[in-house]
Amino acid sequence: DAGITQSPRHKVTETGTPVTLRCHQTENHRYMYWYRQDPGHGLRLIHYSYGVKDTDKGEVSDGYSVSRSKTEDFLLTLESATSSQTSVYFCAISAGQGGTGELFFGEGSRLTVL
């Protein structure tokens, strides 16, 4: 199994509070991704990173920011959580097309915003 750890795995918070989700990898893969999963929408890309300090937006990036100060860590921050951000968040990693192109996923973090 790919070494990907997400924390926290479950979190309940209130509207307007900041939230940070952490993704940690031990594979030294270049690419890291944050997706959210919602019924009827599948997985949608929030942000991704192609190297330390190199990040870019995905299709649903509004209300989210990310940081990657080390190869192994990719943080997703909700500056002021809203109920629409209640979701399951998945981190994924990839070696890129230099590898197989496959994404390896963490176990997901369920966030509930009340």
Binding site: Y35, F90, Q97, E102, F105
Partner: protein
Amino acid sequence: AQTVTQSQPEMSVQEAETVTLSCTYDTSESDYYLFWYKQPPSRQMILVIRQEAYKQQNATENRFSVNFQKAAKSFSLKISDSQLGDAAMYFCAYPTIGNEKLTFGTGTRLTIIP
């Protein structure tokens, strides 16, 4: 805009029978991979099968095979001899710009009838 389509939100199949899940996509890349992922109730995303677009031969992994039609941009998954453990959400995924981002379909929930 995402243009991957899984037109079957739900499907069911009798145990030991064969079922085909459909997926169509749009990409401007000429050389890419396509993926089917499985998400059982545990929520863990598991790679089922990968197809390399430049290979004409359809990929096969045990009971799982694909029908890849590059010109039609169609990538269906066939599951033979369905088993109870095949019950899951199935997502197809294809690469977008630069081949480094995967876009996922909305998923098909597969139920196995004993």
